[in-house]
Symmetry: C2
Subunit: 417 residues, 2 copies
């Protein structure tokens, strides 16, 4: 089965891929390499506007990846652009922070119940590494509990790859199973009197695995264990932060962390990450040395202040939830109409799409190629993301194309059988 | 002795500091905290323009920190701004990289003799961690040799602070003394058959220590050791990259690394880092998973392409060297006229200022306060940075203020004695 739009050897995308093959390892690295998306997907992009992205060959797509998370208000939201440009026009990276650093820290402390302070970085990995470092500094302990298979970044202590990683990089990690209290209890027991932190993602979003929201019992058990020995409960809110709850994603289960990491959506695409923490970890945060050349730059912080203002004003998480529900239920109903069983798991605003009996996501791959050919950019293995630019009209426009793609998939299936 | 401009409790800077004290640990973290500069220095900045920065209270300074390195062409260089804005106006962070990723990788491969490929990140720490990971992945070995006291980033394996760091984070590091071949030989011997990499900074730029350019013999010895066992020679060019030699800083000593890290100046303040490598480490670079949410964003790469173009056109490193020489010799001569002995060490474009018999840099601190009061922003402990916006006229304007500051320092000294 081939995409309705064949691969085009003379396309600008193909030309850029050929050039990249010489000067970029593997043609591209990391999560945005085209090898991670179905054949026929573009590697290179030109622009974004609201809920739409355009590839370098001028093809437009309704975008359900939102740059793999960062875009929460839609591409190039005018108010956010104006806020960022206002600082960029005066200078972004100076000899110290701008006033936006204080505005943003105040805003996050006001918004996030566990937060007594905030500090800022560039990558989600920066924020998670900082959280773990602060937990160890604050407790004087070493063991860090992480869920098996969870993604917390792409640096040696937590990377999904072990290429170039030494055993010592992970010497003090102990693994538990997300949402499994018994496995958490066992990991805590294994840590003995050396427990520095329990790390948990906002929800279970391991690649290609059915997503799970956090179980209340599990979340409370993690909190109780940390309280019992003074360890830090670290919430990895890099992927979900601001989409599910403006107070932090675990407000939805009533459990507050000691430290939390943010990145992706907090500045609508401007490069920024944040760590929030409570006063118990303030002394550690005052003493640990973490820094980066661009961590104080003003424009991303100005953007983030505006993002928060808009999300509050627009009741962001509720609207994203509703948009996600419209998208997810529309897609699964469309699938059923054409004889396919599709599950959308996890929070509707950050859904993972899986076809029944499709462990390699190959049917999903073909389906995604069919939707791409009809101007809808989906992902068959990684969770997707909704934004406030995903209005009912745009979601319905996408669902029409999606229904047509399911019809084509059904025709191909009967032709194959 | 007090600054000619007293601290102003009602200044906007003071108000922001008071607010920051509540919501940011220690009031500010990392290398841009005001605690790292003399009392009276502003914490918060409003804007930059060419060789000048303005603090939040509207005070202007001729800037010899260049945002601690990133600004190499001057703040808000119009051609760089235009290049970055051209992409920002279409979207920065999309579902994949833009064409600028290929343009930039090609440009770096063309410019840097050792480079067969490039990949991009956000922080200097990202680039250094990636280099070490690639060295281990490519060699299958673990030991990494680093110079005692060298700064390679602020993550646990290399941070200057050990707060929150475990012994295992540095289990496979072996330390040598920069420019000391015997100590390097001993470290290589200690690594035995497990040598993955020798890491060296472009030059010795440890905080508060007289800077040293790399010794040819030392650089060649590092290369020879790596060649003998197939280890990677990693050049940390984060601080110096593009200021000393567009082909990589060790072109000046005729030694080429296998892997090099870049950040700071490569995009004139836009957030970007890069790793370059040769084909021997291409397979490792194809397999290791390193990534970040904003690593593919187009505007910083568009900026970097333009930065390189301008540095080539303007003979950047030579002009920066000449500007640095004018600044350094003018300052030391001015010092001598007023009875002070000041050394400017390291490359003139990245000089460290030290007063004789001033181990705590206290005389330097007072002097910096005097120059700040006269509109010149210097640093008394960290190296400074020149940019192409530092014209002869601006340097001479700064030197006039500097001479006046030395005169005041001399008057204060005689008043004290």
């Amino acid at each position: 089965m081939t995409s309705a739009r064949p691969e085009r050897p003379n396309s600008l995308d193909a030309q850029l891929r050929n050039r990249a093959a010489s000067v970029i390892p593997g043609g591209m690295w990391g999560h945005m390499r085209a090898a991670a998306v179905p054949a026929g997907y573009p590697q290179f992009f030109a622009s974004g506007d609201g809920a739409r992205v355009r590839d370098v060959d001028g093809r437009d797509y309704i975008d359900f990846m939102c740059s793999w998370g960062p875009i929460i208000l839609g591409h190039r939201h005018p108010e956010v652009e104006a806020a960022a440009r206002s600082q960029l026009d005066r200078g972004d990276c100076l000899n110290g922070p701008t006033e936006h650093a204080v505005d943003l820290a105040e805003k996050m402390v006001e918004l996030i119940p566990h937060a007594d302070w905030a500090l800022f970085q560039k990558n989600g990995s920066d924020a998670m590494t900082t959280c773990v470092t602060l937990a160890r500094a604050g407790t004087g302990k070493r063991k860090v509990l992480v869920a098996k298979g969870a993604y917390h970044g792409a640096v040696p202590w937590c990377s999904p790859s072990v290429m170039g990683v030494t055993a010592e990089d992970r010497a003090h990690l102990i693994y538990y199973t997300y949402n499994d209290v018994e496995s958490l209890n066992a990991a805590v027991a294994e840590a003995g009197d050396d427990l520095a932190a329990i790390v948990a993602s906002a929800f279970k979003h391991d690649l290609g695995i059915r997503q799970q929201l956090p179980d209340d019992t599990f979340a409370r058990a993690a909190r109780t264990h940390c309280d019992a020995v003074g360890a830090a409960l670290i919430l990895d809110d890099v992927r979900a932060g601001f989409r599910l709850n403006l107070g932090g994603s675990w407000e939805n289960v009533g459990v507050r962390p000691d430290l939390a990491s943010y990145s992706k959506a907090i500045a609508n695409g401007y490069p920024l990450a944040a760590v929030t923490g409570n006063d118990r970890f303030r002394p550690a945060a005052e003493q640990v040395f973490v820094t980066g050349s661009f961590w104080y730059s003003g424009a991303p912080m100005a953007a983030s202040v505006k993002v928060i203002e808009i999300l509050e004003r627009e009741d962001g998480p509720a609207r994203l939830h509703a948009a996600g529900q419209r998208f997810c239920s529309g897609l699964t109903e469309s699938a059923a109409r054409h004889g396919f069983e599709v599950t959308m798991s996890g929070p509707p605003a950050i859904p993972l799409m899986q076809f029944a009996d499709d462990p390699e996501a190959l049917l999903g791959e073909t389906f995604c190629q069919q939707t791409l050919a009809r101007g809808v950019y989906l992902h068959n293995k990684h969770n997707m993301f909704l934004s406030l630019a995903h209005t009912d009209a745009i979601i319905d426009e996408a669902l029409t194309a999606i229904d047509d793609a399911f019809a084509a998939l059904a025709r191909n299936r009967s032709a194959d059988s």
